[in-house]
Symmetry: C2
Subunit: 208 residues, 2 copies
């Protein structure tokens, strides 16, 4: 799997992108893909004909999430690139300083908005993992568990990336955004932990 | 990042490999790569000259782990492939049945041994993440946090993959392996959780 090695090498290098924000989105995409796999390994099996419609409905959602999260891997790197570009703007005159500050703040808000979206979608991945863990092909139940684990790791990884960007945003100028983002992080972190714990217990009961 | 999309598509498909076992190893490799990135973003910076030797030592270990875990992505799929192959052996005569059972058991032990190694290396990733979170470039501290989160997810994902294979191993014939594996899982799960929580608190304190 030489393709993965290319990404892993780029990640390990001293270039700041791709970085943890992209990995958060990738973790979510891996979780969504595994939830899709469990649904795909259930659909068409006689033993699971009763849950066929549920699995088809789940698959539509997990595949949409997989594609959205894969897109967010690149969007995170692009948003971070804009912050780096704004940082390099000239800051000699007062006008330049003001323009640089405005560009920095706008790019930081974008850079926080991407992982907020990643976190939301990771919570969705966990919720869908629960359905495939409960009703999907039992031989693939560990994959449903790994899907939830990746969703949870992606959610918390995204949270750290929102927080590090929020720390640079001028809260006096952007109070509304900072407060709303902070509140959303708390709610989603709780939801991710609770949901992933539920799935993990379902899976443990089936594999042991 | 078309290369990642290829892997994500293969994962989502109705082929059982790559599956959750490969994702466990990939999660660990992503964590190792991010720990490498933090070390690389610290080495050579005047502000961090006092920790340069620590970062160089950490980097050697995180890069070795990244390569080993990347290798384990493929080894997991290969080990699972052997289980599938053994399952398809003929089972008409008593001799065939006995040969099939022996081949199944041997392949299941291999299939459990790979994620045991993945889990051990994920615990190492978490330990190394702590060092780069504490002493590495503060601007990349969220990446150190994501490294630990990926190590933790990889460890628990590997654990589920060990358990699902252990469930098929004849404990009366392979009691030593089953008991030793079960005990190792418990120790490593505790270590992974405690270590990752420590790193997460270090990172949270620095980003908020």
């Amino acid at each position: 799997m030489a393709d993965l090695n290319g990404f892993l090498e780029a990640l390990a290098s001293n270039s700041p992108t791709p970085g943890g924000g992209s990995v958060a989105a990738l973790a979510g995409a891996l979780g969504a893909a595994l939830a899709s796999m469990v649904a795909n390994l259930t659909i068409g099996k006689k033993k699971y004909v009763d849950v066929e419609d549920d699995m088809k409905a789940a698959l539509q959602k997990t595949e949409a999430l997989r594609l959205e999260l894969a897109q967010l891997i690149e969007e995170d790197a692009a948003a971070f690139g804009k912050v780096m570009k704004a940082m390099k703007l000239p800051k000699e005159t007062d006008e330049e300083k003001a323009a640089r500050k405005a560009a920095m703040q706008a790019s930081l808000i974008d850079a926080a908005t991407v992982p907020l979206a990643v976190m939301e979608k990771c919570v969705d991945v966990i919720r869908l993992s629960k359905g495939v863990a409960e009703k999907g092909n039992k031989n693939a139940v560990s994959d449903a568990g790994v899907a939830a684990l990746m969703g949870r790791a992606g959610a918390h990884a995204a949270r750290l990336n929102v927080l590090i960007n929020l720390g640079w945003i001028d809260a006096s100028e952007h109070r509304g955004f900072v407060e709303k983002a902070g509140a959303a992080l708390g709610v989603m972190a709780t939801e991710a932990d609770r949901g992933a714990d539920e799935v993990f217990q379902i899976v443990l009961a089936k594999v042991t």
